[in-house]
Structures are given as structure tokens and as C-alpha cells.
Symmetry: C2
Subunit: 122 residues, 2 copies
């Protein structure tokens, strides 16, 4: 069945109706998230997650056997991709292939927000 998750954020606190909170892993700082399209929607193929990283925070530096499609929605990110580092901002897209070590860091004074698409592995 199709579903609508309306944006219900206030100010820089982005939120959507009927979207489960995500628990982000250890070895990170200031990361929270919402599952925008997931198992609760009956979605069999992919997941769309929203992550927020507070200014100065960072995601875990890790790699895994599935890929990420990242679309920045607010703030600035420094992204480690293997041995490289890139800086990206709103509307930029980063494709992180499987098994590539990666980490996102919120740089500047604003929280970083991004969409992160993954295959359905849960």
C-alpha cells in the first residue's frame, strides 16, 4: 500500500509523520536519523533514511558490503571516501560503493542533513 509521510519539521529540526527513529551505531558523534521509506511501509527493495549530524559531529568510519546513495539536504559535509576527502553541500550527490571505507563529518556551524539510500538489508 502506498503511503505519504508529510514533513512536520520546525526550524532546523526536520521531522516527518509516521517515520521510525533510527538508532545509529557507536563510534560516532551527534548522529540521529529517521526511516523515511522502510520496512514499516512494506518496501521490499530499498530504504530511504534521513540522517542529521550536529555541527562538529561525525558518522562511524567504516565499510560494509552494500552501497549508499547520499543526497545532502542541509549543511556542509566533509566526506571520507577511501583515501580521498571531499567537501559537499546542499543538493550535492555522493555515491559510496560497497566496501569503500567512508565517514561523514558536519563542518561549519550548522547541522548536516542528508538522505541516504541503501538496499533493503534489514
Amino acid at each position: 500500500m502506498s503511503k505519504v509521510h508529510r514533513f512536520v519539521g520546525l526550524g532546523d529540526a526536520w521531522d516527518w509523520e509516521n517515520t521510525p527513529d533510527l538508532t545509529y551505531m557507536a563510534d560516532s558523534k551527534g548522529v540521529t536519523g529517521k526511516m523515511l521509506v522502510g520496512a514499516a511501509d512494506g518496501a521490499p527493495n530499498f530504504r530511504i533514511r534521513y540522517f542529521r549530524i550536529e555541527a562538529g559531529g561525525y558518522s562511524s568510519r567504516h565499510s560494509h558490503n552494500f552501497d549508499h546513495g547520499v543526497y545532502i539536504v542541509h549543511g556542509q559535509a566533509r566526506v571520507k571516501l577511501g583515501q580521498e576527502e571531499v567537501e559537499v553541500g546542499p543538493r550535492d550527490v555522493v555515491y559510496i560503493s560497497a566496501n569503500e571505507e567512508h565517514q561523514l563529518r558536519a563542518v561549519g556551524n550548522e547541522p548536516l542533513g542528508f538522505l541516504c539510500v541503501i538496499p533493503a538489508i534489514d
Copy 2:
């Protein structure tokens, strides 16, 4: 290999580096698109597309055996979902399940822009 597609749009003409144009199907009006994450990135699991529908335009009314994850980035949409119709705007999320008849229409005076995630079927 990981890749960055930087946003290079000007004004309301959104565009990204190194992203193929999409050819949208007939039975529609004013629809153009870009593949933000696709086969050219070596992505095996999912696709992230950006579609723009000019004011007054609409996508094909159809159904198919795969699902869509839609995230509105600009403008206003009237979305047909089976027998229902909903109106959504920026940051709203619509999950369209497989085999659900659907159509997006750009309402208001601005072009509609949205991200549309699908499984890798190409």
C-alpha cells in the same frame, strides 16, 4: 568506485555534474530528468533519479511491478495513488508500492522537482 555529482544548477534549472539525462515516456507533459545514481556509477541495487515537471505538466498515469520512493524537492504536486489523490510539497515523502496506479501533476505556478528512488531494473 565512489563518485561525487556536484549540484551545478542555476536558478530553478537544477542540474548536476556527470549525470545522464533521462528520457521520460510518452503520455506525459513537460517531464525531464537526470540519473543522479545509476548504472554509470556502477550502482547494482538502486537508482536515484531527479525529475522536473513544468507547471501544468504531469507524468504518465501508469503502474508497474516495482516501487517508488519519492521525496519532493521543489514545487507542489498532486499525486494520484490508486483511487486516492494527495497534495504534497517540499520535503514530503511518498512511497508508491508496486502495481499501484500513480501519476504526479505539477500544481501551482512553479515547476515540480522530486527525487524518485527505484530498484535497479535497467
